[in-house]
Structure formats: C-alpha cells, structure tokens
Amino acid sequence: MRGPLLAAAGGAMGGAGGPLARTIRAKLTAALQPTHLEVRDDSPRHGGPPGAETHFGVLVVSGRFAGLPLLQRHRLVHEALRAELAGPLHALQVIARTPQQWQSDPHAPPAPPCLGGSKR
C-alpha cells in the first residue's frame, strides 16, 4: 500500500529499501511507536547514485506527539536517529503528526527540489 509521502516522491522504493532505510524505520518504530510511518529515500533526487541513502524524508504519526509543539516533535525524531544524523544521514525531512491530525488530513507536502547543495 502506497502512502502519500511515497506517492508524492514518485515512490520508487521497491520493497523495504536499503540498510539505512531499514535502520531508520526500526529506530523510529522503537522510539515513537507510530500508528503510521513512511520512510522515503530522496537521495536519487539530490544527485546521489541509487542506493546512496543520504537524504531521507520521514512521516511519523504518533500519539507521543500529542501536546508537543513542532520543535519538540522534530527533536524527538532527531533523538531517535542521533547516530545516523552524526554519520551518513545528510538531510532529513520530517513530518510529525498526532493520529488525530493525520486522520483529519492524510496528506503530506512534497519535498523541495534539490538546488545543488555543497557539491557546487
């Protein structure tokens, strides 16, 4: 089943994704017990070769976010992926919603296009 985040990306995920994708999925699941989780590898859209696994987008729906402002929600996600962010994970788009928010609006905005970054 394709979630909106994957569909918006043109979702060529082909299965569980690479090792980093699986790690991200596992860590976010353990840390936040999400009711809905999408992990998208955007690396191909940023000039990396297929399987580069450097730029990711995650959509996390979790009751843990209830009552928390956006900044705190994002910090929870960063905390779960601290090791990855210190290492291979170069960019991370985060959408963090409560189950109620997700139910009333099950859509995610697409990621902005790459403009070259530090490779220029």
């Binding site: 900044l71 994002h74 962010l85 902005p112 403009l115 070259g116 530090s118």
Partner: protein
C-alpha cells in the same frame, strides 16, 4: 537564517524553501548566513541549537526550526502570528484583505 547559499542564490532546495516562504510574507530584510562559506559556522550553529541540519531559522534570536517547521507554520497561520509579535505585518494579510474587497 542560517542557510546554504544566499537569499539571492540559495544552493539547497530546503534553504530555498525558507527564503521563498519568508518572501511570500514580505519578509526580505533579514540576516542570512551562508554556512557553505564557513565550516566552523556550519558545525557551530548545529551545536548551538542542538539541531542537526541546515537551514535554521531564528526569530528574534530564538530558534524556530528548519524548513519543514517553517512550512507548517506558514500553512497553519502560525507564521503570521509570530511575525506580528515581532512587529512585522505579513504581506499575506494585505493579500487577503484585497481578496475580501473583491
């Protein structure tokens, strides 16, 4: 704003998104720091805010978040409110007024 590139020429899609959102609100007069010019700045600002990525938006010295947060604040009206607190009237309010007049 700590970003990659400059508001005139952003070098990253996420940094560009921040510039475009601020521009929609008529906010163009802000300090922008290009972290690509200075590796110490690039790491230093991440340490300061305890936030792992660029761009980083600060309003009145307070860290607000990155591109995703700014986009959501823009979409849910929070950005207009935050700008108002700083004495900045968002251009979108005037745009809405024009629409209502029609």
């Amino acid at each position: 704003v700590f970003m990659k590139g400059s508001p005139a020429q952003p070098l990253c899609g996420f940094s560009n998104a921040v510039v475009q959102i601020l521009r929609l609100h008529g906010v163009e007069d802000y300090r922008a720091h290009d972290v690509l010019q200075d590796p110490d700045l690039r790491q230093g600002i991440k340490n300061y805010s305890n936030w792992p990525t660029i761009p980083q938006v600060y309003l009145n010295g307070e860290f607000v978040g990155g591109c995703d947060i700014l986009l959501q604040m823009h979409q849910n009206g929070d950005l207009v409110e935050e700008l108002k607190k700083l004495g900045i009237r968002s251009a979108l309010l005037d745009a809405e007024k024009d629409q209502e007049k029609k």
